[in-house]
Amino acid sequence: MPARAPAVRLADDVRTGRRSAREIADAALAAIVADDPGVGAFTLVTEDLARRQADAVDRAVAEGRDPGPMAGVPVGLKDNLCTRGIPTTCSSRILAGWRPPYDATVVERLRGAGAVVVGKTNMDEFAMGSSTETSATGPTRNPHDPLRVPGGSSGGSAASVAAGFVPVALGSDTGGSVRQPAALCGVVGLKPTYGTVSRYGLVAFASSLDQIGPLTTTVADAALVYDVIGGHDPLDSTSLERPHPRVADVLDDGVAGLTVGVVTELVDAAAADVAGSVAAAAEALAAAGARVEDVSIPETRLGLSAYYLIAPGEASSNLARYDGVRYGLRVAAPDTTAMNVATRTAGFGDEVKRRIMLGTYVLSAGYVDAYYNQALRARTRMIAAFDAAYARFDALIGPTSPTTAFPLGSKIDDPMAMYRNDVCTIPSNLTGQPAVSIPFGAGADGLPVGVQVLGPSLEEATVLRMAAVLEAAAPPGTPPVPVGASSTGGAVR
């Protein structure tokens, strides 16, 4: 199916006139209509928008204008990214049908690059979850096994790529929400350095942790998308310049002479089959010329608790604006306070309520120092520990998720069990450093396993170079392409 070629290839086809953007868009839309009912990756398919955008790209090509580096590439957008005039719901009842009057910066940048938005993807409500099961409209299924979760919170985006509907989807990663679903679905997922991708227009969950990142079938595509969406945005005060050189330019530099640390505590947190993939990845890197050693960073163990104090704290404040006054759901009541209560009670799901209450508690007078501020101190410790590690190593590796995809419904009633899915991904959110998940082998059950490469701030190039090496060395069992595909134009392995 032509739509399933990687983005780099599709864009080249369109820019050179070998294929039309419209034809690619139509094929993607047809595949979604036909096969997404069994997956549930999309919460909304934007057929009119996609065709309009594709036609505009084709016009540009015909008129000799530069259509952009992602010309004609169909993309899915996680439904917490504001798209003007198009419902942006965060998979929550409280924002059902809400149409933003503005586009997120990353959405504008994708459009400027010629990408074609085919739909909004399903997610855990307000990005709170690791399985996409808290979505108000129902879960997404893992394309590799419909009885299993795709991971979360960007499960819809991960599944849309894994199922071959689009080569690129954007997600957001606060505690692992791009990388963990990437691992469970067997695709590439990048969380950039905090600050390198604008958050303007990303509905906030935890502001000091949220970052937007690409989910793709290839490392080269992840680099392409990062180079397009990254960079300083005057509308985001926490925005940095993306690093130079452009990642896509140095992707093939290899890893000879680089030092890599295998983080003991992260491997120990994983199931045996996942740990086995990490060991194999370490060998592959060594074979490619890197010096690989084990490294112990005990502070990573503080991450889970620190995260579940900091993130809900910030979230409880970020979600206060959903009160039935200005937009979204309103449940009528005799006075404003009662209206706020009725609206929020009806509009938020259980996980969101849990985190709001937890966050309110850890920020409250009498507890803020013992919990929230204490977590910020633990964060200082973790940053120092990782800085020390990066003084010795160019990059670190470990598992992305402790296990492969788990069955739908198996952890939803046990919050702590669900939260433990994030132990390997949380550290990079707390330190603000980049990390990528790359498919590497399969688990005991044949399901995808992701290996995580972590790097120091602004070292996306190093992290993705390493991921490219792993991509080339991926062992048998690594999912090549999506379910149901007859694999033309699949990922180069």
């Binding site: 917490n80 990214l81 504001c82 942006t88 965060c90 924002l95 809400w98 933003p100 009057p101 503005y102 997120a104 958050r199 303007y200 227009g201 990303l202 509905v203 906030a204 935890a206 502001s207 000091s208 005057p234 509308l235 985001d236 005060s237 926490t238 704290g313 910030e314 409880s316 404040s317 206060a320 604006r321 009160d323 006054v325 200005r326 937009y327 404003t336 306070t337 706020n340 309110t360 920020l363 409250s364 007078a365 803020v368 929230y372």
Partner: protein
């Protein structure tokens, strides 16, 4: 009457900054626009929006801090979390334990020094109108929210509890307002909400006793109501204490019509604002260069302006009260630059001060636009007798009204040529000739005769359209009569 009790007052003044745009977004900072026309994702609290700090607001906050003698420090922003419909995000971005300005001082005209604890940046809320019979919030049927004002930059100035009366509080607010206007930070229009005052009032038997329980009186919007409210509240608390009751710590509202403070009906609870550092903003650490550029561009403050005028009058001891009042008026209306410039161009100081404080003050806005050289020229014409005081005031009126900008031309247009002695004598002769009976009575001399000076002067004035100088008419009449008959 407070008798021997000591009244203790601290004031919190919220000052809207005169920036073109809001504190965290590029929407216009404007008063009185159509509702919800100055809004954007940021200030209306849409999902996904992010704040970006307005540099000019920081400049003005530092200007205020400098003008109040504060220490300007590196600072951070915090979220103050509470639900209210006019608070678009249900949190306010403010400054908490690391504010930009701390430890200043404001000196009142009477020399009292009032400590300034802090002056920090924060965003304003939207405005709510309540639909119901009273227009007040209680008993309203519903409310309507306009977010035009949401996000407007404020500096909150917190004084130490150093004020001891309603009158001192009024003086503090007046002086502070002058400083805020002079520093360029505010337009000073309290009637438009540019400055809003909350007063913390307590009483204690003597200054040696610890502070009593205080009540906060919110939203006092004129200098007058500040004084009245504090005086009422102090008396209320004293009466409570003297009759053996306690003062309950609470927030009260000043009812201007009834002339009393009333408890706000909402249950008083200690709000838990759950302050935490704003993760969407980064710290502010103005370097020396930035701080110096702000203080270097700071205009003269009111106290310095008053001293400048006083020094023009010469420093022969304390000024008479009338002079002092004129100086306060002239500086208060922003006309001191005009006076100083006019004096530089040769105008006599006391005349310049008088004309500015009395006549020019009637249209202060126009007076502030007056050309100093034109003003000076007019004053010189009056001082050297080319124009009578009446004539000079008329020409000044023309200058203020914008009829023209050349005093000599304006005087000529009105026919205010200086009357020569000969033409004056001619007119007097005509008038005298037309009224022989009165002239005979005047020639006879005595008390009654002097009253006829007014009679003849009036006729001379009418005949010359006010151009004649009354004193010169009297002198001419006397000269004509010759020495009084004994």
């Amino acid at each position: 009457m407070t008798g021997t009790w000591e009244v203790v007052v601290g004031l919190e003044v919220h000052c809207e900054l005169r920036t073109r745009t809001k504190l965290f977004c590029g929407c216009r900072n404007a008063f009185g626009g159509e509702p919800n026309t100055d809004i954007c994702p940021v200030c209306v609290g849409l999902p996904g929006a992010l704040p970006v700090l307005n540099r000019r607001a920081v400049d003005l906050a530092m200007a205020i801090g400098t003008a109040l003698g504060c220490e300007i420090r590196p600072s951070t922003f915090h979220r103050k979390n509470y639900f209210y419909p006019d608070q678009a995000k249900n949190y306010q971005i403010s400054q908490y334990d690391e504010p930009i300005n701390v430890n200043g001082c404001l000196e009142l005209a009477d020399g009292t020094k009032v400590g300034i604890v802090r002056a920090h940046l924060e965003e304003d809320t939207g405005k709510t109108v309540h639909a119901g019979s009273s227009g007040r919030i209680h008993g309203a049927d519903y409310s309507l929210v306009d977010y035009n004002r949401a996000g407007v930059p404020l500096v909150e100035i917190v004084s130490a509890p150093d004020l001891r009366s309603g009158e001192q509080a009024r003086a503090y607010v007046t002086e502070l307002r002058g400083i805020l206007v002079a520093s360029g930070a505010s337009d000073g229009k309290m009637e438009e909400g540019s400055m809003r005052v909350d007063a913390n009032v307590s009483v204690r038997p003597t200054s040696a006793d610890p502070f009593g329980t205080r009540c906060e009186i919110k939203n006092l919007n004129s200098v007058r109501s500040i004084g009245r409210a504090i005086e009422f509240e102090a008396a209320r608390q004293i009466e409570l204490l003297e009759s053996g009751n306690e003062v309950v710590q609470e927030t009260r509202h000043w009812d201007e019509d009834a002339g009393r403070t009333v408890t706000l009906r909402s249950k008083e609870e200690a709000y838990d604002y759950r302050y935490f550092r704003e993760p969407d903003l980064v710290p502010l650490a103005p370097d020396l260069e930035w701080r110096v550029s702000v203080s270097a561009s700071l205009d003269l403050l009111p106290r310095a302006r008053r001293e400048r005028l006083a020094s023009l009058l010469g420093d022969d001891g304390p000024l008479p009260a009338s002079r002092g009042d004129q100086i306060v008026t002239v500086v208060g209306l922003g006309l001191d630059d005009l006076v100083v410039a006019a004096v530089d161009s040769g105008a006599p100081v006391s005349l310049a001060l008088s004309r500015a404080a009395n006549e020019a003050a009637t249209d202060a806005e126009a007076a502030r636009r007056l050309s100093a050289s034109a003003f000076a020229e007019l004053l010189v014409m009056e001082a050297d007798g080319s124009l009578t005081p009446t004539q000079a005031k008329a020409v000044l009126g023309d200058l203020l009204a914008g009829t023209g900008d050349d005093p000599a031309a304006l005087a000529a247009a009105r026919g205010f040529e200086a009357m020569s002695a000969e033409s004056l004598a001619e007119v007097v002769a005509e008038v005298v000739a037309a009224h022989p009976d009165e002239w005979e009575r005047f020639r006879a001399g005595g008390e009654k005769a002097d009253k006829l000076i007014g009679f003849f002067t009036g006729l001379v004035m009418r005949s010359t359209s006010g151009q004649a100088d009354g004193k010169e008419v009297a002198a001419e009449l006397r000269r004509r009569r010759g020495p009084e008959p004994t």
